[in-house]
């Protein structure tokens, strides 16, 4: 033992150091693919999605690969796609929102009733609906952030409240598509169709795509996005590190409420009518969560990308349409979708494992 040895002095003189460099194995295509996977995790659900398309294409032939069928998928997932984007935001903060579907339905009802019951012009009714959505989001956010209630409970309660309000307020009355078309076509604006080389798109689909891209950018490339991840990852640590947890959570829930409002507007565009008993109110939450989880976002928060959630929604959409087109009977369709959900995520896990 040499206690008086001034061993620390050895490191006093800084030698010219380099960052450690190790032998770089596994380059080439495979290596590049690895790297892509690590920088862009949404690639995994994308692969699953493409694989699903290929399989259904082989089974169903040209019927499935027709522009009609392919754009049909987009139209069929537009509502779930928008809700999944909203849900993804909440889940990234380690929350969960059971009220998304119900809020969307209520917002569509508000847009409709405000126009038809109170005679407000539709161009005003839409922002009013969106404002309502945002306000509900704010209440959820406040209960989660300030009162510190578990998001599951807050949004479970809100789900029931919103659904009940929705039925009570609308008196269960559907506003018919014909009436909307005649008197307030702006409510159906997002249903506007246009053609791109035989494929039919609606503005609702465009809105969904834009929304996903914008959110992907914001989450990746702005400070707010980083804070969302940090808060979801480890709220304590984020707070200690200087993130305003409350502000971040409030903004997420409010934005989500707003997006749900958009989803309500998309619903009017898609169905033409305004119906308080739309199923989205009841199962929209599970559908959105499913898309998010298939898309590789962790329910424990802080990990995953919104593009993944979008691909997740598409995966389910492709399965559903494909099985329906193949003529599977409904219960068999549910059964197979159950199997496929598990299979999709198994493949996802497997890809991640072999490329770890």
């Amino acid at each position: 033992m040499a206690e008086a040895d001034r061993y620390e002095d050895v490191v006093r003189t800084r030698s010219d150091e380099k960052f450690a460099e190790f032998e770089d194995t596994g380059k080439g295509l495979w290596g590049r693919f690895h790297e892509l996977l690590h920088t862009t995790p949404a690639i995994v659900p994308l692969i699953v999605l493409l694989a699903a398309c290929v399989v259904f294409g082989l089974v169903l032939g040209s019927k499935f690969f027709s522009p009609f069928a392919l754009t049909l998928i987009l139209q069929q997932v537009q509502i779930v796609g928008v809700l999944a984007a909203a849900q993804a935001l909440i889940i990234l903060t380690a929350g969960i929102d059971l009220s998304v579907g119900a809020v969307a339905v209520l917002c569509s009802v508000i847009m409709g009733q405000v126009t038809f019951r109170y005679g407000v012009p539709a161009v005003l009714a839409v922002p009013i609906g969106l404002a309502f959505g945002t306000a509900i989001g704010a209440i959820n956010g406040w209960l989660v952030s300030k009162v510190k209630l578990p998001p599951f409970i807050v949004t479970l309660g809100m789900w029931q409240i919103v659904l009940a309000v929705n039925y009570l307020y609308s008196a269960n009355e559907t506003i018919r598509a014909q009436d909307i078309e005649a008197q307030a076509p702006f409510l159906q604006f997002l249903g506007t169709k246009f053609n791109v080389g035989g494929a039919v798109f609606t503005l609702g689909v465009v809105l969904m795509l834009l929304l996903v891209l914008v959110l992907a950018y914001v989450l990746r490339s702005t400070a707010w996005g980083r804070h969302v991840y940090a808060v979801g990852d480890d709220p304590e640590a984020a707070q200690l590190a200087g993130v305003d947890r409350h502000k971040t959570i409030m903004s997420v829930y409010m934005l989500v409420g707003f997006i749900c409002g958009l989803a309500g507007w998309v619903m009017i565009g898609r169905f033409g009518s305004v119906s308080p008993s739309a199923t989205t109110g009841v199962i929209g939450n599970i559908q959105a969560i499913t898309a998010v989880v298939i898309g590789g976002i962790s329910l424990f928060g802080g990990r995953g990308s919104i593009l993944g959630a979008f691909f997740g929604a598409l995966i389910v959409g492709v399965f559903e349409l494909g099985l329906r087109m193949a003529g599977a009977d409904p219960q068999w369709t549910y059964l197979l979708i159950g199997v496929l959900i598990i299979a999709a995520v198994t493949v996802d896990q497997w890809i991640r494992k072999v490329t770890a």
């Binding site: 009609f68 039925y167 269960n172 009518s273 308080p276 989205t280």
Partner: protein
């Protein structure tokens, strides 16, 4: 197969009613050499899945669609889209709103179904109907149309003022103990009955949305020993339901004929695929009425009914 292709879209497929409907359609399609694809909503009132199903049928190039609409008006634009694509659309069981949104309707009148059991219950009670204590076991808080039609039909038949006929729960007749929802199964029926009994143990008439709910209500009554002094009425006329009349569980039920609707529908599509002909409505009505009959072993004056034996011969489940 060259007899053309058809789609059957039901409200759900967890209800024996629709299972039978599908069996009827499948048998007929088989017989006529047609392809049949079946679709269903996920829960009662599920319009979205039905829209997606219609879109799929269009993409698949079907000749005709049979649909029991979950939301009679919200489905109309999609139906229009299908008809524009040259597809014959027939509404089964539930007329669309407006009724001519479909090429033809093969239906039961759900309001009438309710009215029959209402009349029966009133007649059965006689003078006691004036101070009856009535419980309503409905389908769901979202008040899907079948549920509202049957509930309001019952009130009409029983002599209760409907207030708004498009919803239940807004009536102020003091004979109403309350409404509760059952999801149309035994589990919901039992709980709803218990809840209403806890409010008023003297209930003596129970309207139920369908026979499983009625069976659940019966269990609740049995648990407190009142199964013999309460009248339970219901709708559907499935075989277990008819058997329950024989066993004294249900007093009377309105029977419908889903197999008939389905097979008629398939025949119509086959004809349409062959030569473009469309089906005709029943004389004097704007739809093809497949009929409703009251089944009971305690017939009453002034309300036409059939016996349990006849009901058993016609039942579908």
């Amino acid at each position: 197969q060259d007899g053309g292709s058809a789609c059957l879209i039901t409200k759900t497929d967890t209800n024996p009613f629709f299972v039978k409907m599908r069996e009827g359609a499948a048998a007929k399609a088989e017989e006529l050499g047609m392809t049949l694809n079946s679709y269903a909503g996920k829960v009662d009132g599920d319009n979205e899945s039905q829209v997606a199903a219609i879109e799929t049928c269009i993409a698949n190039g079907a000749d005709g669609i049979l649909i029991t609409a979950s939301s009679t008006s919200a489905i109309v634009p999609s139906v229009q889209q299908a008809r524009d694509a040259g597809i014959l659309v027939i509404a089964l069981d539930t007329p669309l709103d407006p009724i001519d949104a479909a090429d033809m309707t093969f239906a039961t009148d759900n309001f009438l179904a309710g009215e029959l059991i209402g009349q029966w219950a009133a007649a059965k009670l006689g003078d006691a109907a004036a101070d009856a204590r009535v419980a309503f076991l409905d389908l769901d808080v979202s008040q899907p149309t079948v549920g509202v039609l049957r509930d309001q039909g019952f009130m009409q038949g029983f002599g209760i003022d409907l207030a708004d006929p498009n919803k239940w729960g807004d009536e102020d007749d003091s004979r109403i103990v309350g409404h509760d929802v059952t999801q149309g199964n035994e589990e919901g029926g039992r709980k709803a009955m218990e809840n209403l009994l806890a409010t008023d143990p003297m209930i003596n008439v129970v309207y139920t949305i369908n026979e499983p709910a009625a069976a659940g209500a019966y269990e609740a009554l049995k648990a407190i020993g009142r199964e013999n002094d309460v009248l339970i009425v219901s709708v559907d006329g499935g075989c277990p339901g008819v058997q329950n009349i024989a066993d004294g569980v249900i007093g009377a039920t309105s029977q419908q004929y889903p197999l008939l609707m389905a097979s008629k529908g398939i025949e119509a599509i086959a004809a349409f695929a062959k030569d473009g002909s469309k089906p005709e409505a029943t004389e004097g009505k704007n739809f093809f009425d497949t009929g409703v009959k009251l089944v009971t072993d305690q017939p009453v004056e002034g309300v036409e009914s059939i016996s349990v034996e006849e009901g058993t011969n016609l039942c579908w489940g």
